[in-house]
């Protein structure tokens, strides 16, 4: 009995990893496709495994959309010649990609992605691996460990460009982690306001947004969180870590083949997790639309539908990430620091205090 439950958990965890990794792979495709559309290009449209082109209509369509491109990308990384530069610190050089990927994949443990309504009792439960009471803190804690991958990669590469990239990105991540945390706290203040039993779990946030979405109630929080997520994932207006115009490739200059592939996947896994987190916190998770009750039927069909709806929102956010990349130029490094410390942080603290005062006023009446 004990063994089967453990085995079941392992199966679920593996399944979740597969899903997140696949989503990371396909967000690379989204990135490439959306980028090319924005630039008036076509994007990957040729990769076709055997015989796919002979399936009438659907086959060529899938090929044209580049559906099989992520597999080709992954295989390319796997089969490239494994090169280790001679001047690197071997232990940390090999450790760094792993340290970058593991936190990105660990955070998904506490992310709920749908709800299952029991047809007989009508009680609905969120679908997640670990229903942790303090999910949001867990995510912040584990994702803060992701810095080590970048720092160690930059240091062990023994290359000044890598090192500068690592220093920049770690300073940036530490700075924006503060705003990231503080921007979300007002939500949890409301969640735990007198008379509400919320806790710090992510499913509680989603349950709270049954009738309204937090993005409409707390737009400032949403904006601050979005900017901080962009900085934490090293996405374009903030991609100090690998600003290729001045740092060659940033912290992964010395990495190639599979090790680079791991960094690549970790980066996109961060984007997937970040989008999922934003969806959960501000876009109502799997709830249908603000003001409307969920149309998901009870049982497994409803669970699948709610999961799909959640994934749709996440994918829209991933597309938004890519669009921002082609809209805004890169910040200069001092501008990034100034924005983080003198604008975002005071705004986040002010927002937190304002919400605390409002809750106290409501409570005192």
């Amino acid at each position: 009995m004990e063994l089967t439950s453990i085995l079941l958990k392992i199966v679920f965890a593996v399944l979740m990893i597969v899903v997140v990794m696949t989503m990371a792979g396909y967000s690379v495709l989204i990135e490439r496709k959306v980028s090319s559309w924005v630039q008036g290009r076509v994007g990957p449209n040729r990769t076709a495994p055997f015989l796919v082109n002979y399936i009438p209509f659907i086959g060529p369509l899938l090929v044209r959309m580049g559906i099989f491109q992520p597999m080709a990308d992954g295989l390319k990384f796997l089969f490239k010649e494994e090169i280790t530069p001679g001047h690197v610190n071997k232990t940390y050089y090999f450790l760094a990609p792993i340290l970058a990927l593991v936190p990105a994949l660990t955070t998904m443990v506490v992310i709920p992605f749908g709800q299952y309504t029991d047809p007989s009792t009508g009680a609905s439960n969120p679908l997640m691996l670990a229903p942790l009471d303090i999910g949001i803190l867990f995510i912040f804690a584990v994702s803060s460990l992701g810095v080590y991958g970048i720092v160690l990669a930059g240091w062990s590469s023994n290359n000044k460009y890598s090192f500068l990239g690592a220093i920049r990105s770690s300073a940036q991540m530490i700075s924006y982690e503060l705003s990231l945390g503080l921007s979300v706290f007002p939500l949890f203040l409301w969640l735990n306001a007198p008379g509400v039993e919320g806790g710090l779990g992510l499913n509680a946030v989603v349950d709270y947004q049954q009738n309204f979405w937090f993005i409409f109630v707390q737009p400032l929080s949403a904006l601050l969180f979005l900017v901080a997520i962009f900085a934490e994932t090293n996405r374009l207006p903030f991609d100090m870590a690998e600003s290729e115009t001045d740092l060659v490739g940033g912290f992964h200059t010395e990495y190639g083949c599979f090790k680079f592939g791991i960094f690549f996947v970790a980066e996109y896994a961060h984007i997937v997790i970040g989008s999922a987190l934003f969806t959960l916190l501000f876009l109502g998770g799997w709830h249908f639309l603000p003001g409307l009750s969920d149309p998901w039927p009870a049982g497994w069909i409803g669970a699948v539908l709610s999961t799909i709806w959640f994934l749709v929102k996440t994918v829209i956010l991933i597309v938004f990430f890519v669009l921002i990349r082609w809209t805004l130029p890169r910040f200069r490094y001092d501008q990034v620091m100034k924005l983080g410390w003198t604008i975002l942080l005071p705004l986040a603290i002010g927002n937190l205090i304002l919400n605390a005062i409002i809750i106290a006023l409501i409570d005192s009446q």
Partner: protein, 184 residues
């Protein structure tokens, strides 16, 4: 669960020891991070999830990054050449002996031995008063304790941190007057 405890205890103690003896500062910092994470795992075994997460978030995630940050800016070869002096070795030997004796006394006499840690945590701080929140496991209980029973220590810790911060600012700031005198 004993197996898990032993694994995580080893994961905490061995890297801690390695951190002290390692020559390379980067290795030392990494061992310290492993030790912190192992300690967080021990907190999880005690079902103190919030404490575990704060351990990772604050120590492993934020403070050690800054440590590593500074260490990496050092010249490793120079640092590794530094040998501990005689006084340092003697002092550290004496303190190690003192710690061993202290822990032995604490565990050997009728002090802490025989009581489980969870029991200790649940016990009221003053024998006469009772603990309103019970075992402080959930985040709410932590907050409640922090703003009621432990209000004064909490505030004092904050002031202490502020003092050290001001001290750092003063030390790192250039003394313009003394420099001017040296130049003249």
């Amino acid at each position: 669960m004993d197996v898990l405890f032993i694994i995580f205890a080893v994961l905490t103690v061995v890297p801690a020891l390695l951190m002290v003896v390692s020559r390379n500062p980067v290795n030392g910092a990494m061992f310290m991070i492993i030790s912190f994470v192992g300690m967080a795992a021990l907190f999880v075994l005690l079902e103190a999830f919030l404490l575990a997460i704060l351990q990772v978030l604050v120590y492993a995630g934020a403070i050690m990054v800054l440590f590593l940050f500074i260490i990496m800016l050092l010249d490793m070869d120079e640092v590794e050449k530094i040998k501990p002096g005689t006084v340092t070795s003697i002092a550290s030997g004496i303190s190690l002996a003192l710690i061993i004796v202290g822990v032995a006394v604490l565990l050997g006499s009728d002090g802490l031995a025989g009581q489980s840690v969870a029991h200790l945590a649940a016990a009221p701080d003053f024998p006469s008063a009772d603990n309103p929140m019970g075992l402080a496991l959930s985040a709410k209980a932590y907050g409640f304790g922090l703003f009621t029973k432990y209000m004064l220590p909490f505030q004092l810790t904050g002031v202490l941190l502020l003092v050290s911060m001001i001290g750092v600012i003063i030390i790192s700031k250039k003394r313009e007057t003394s420099q001017g005198q040296e130049q003249s």
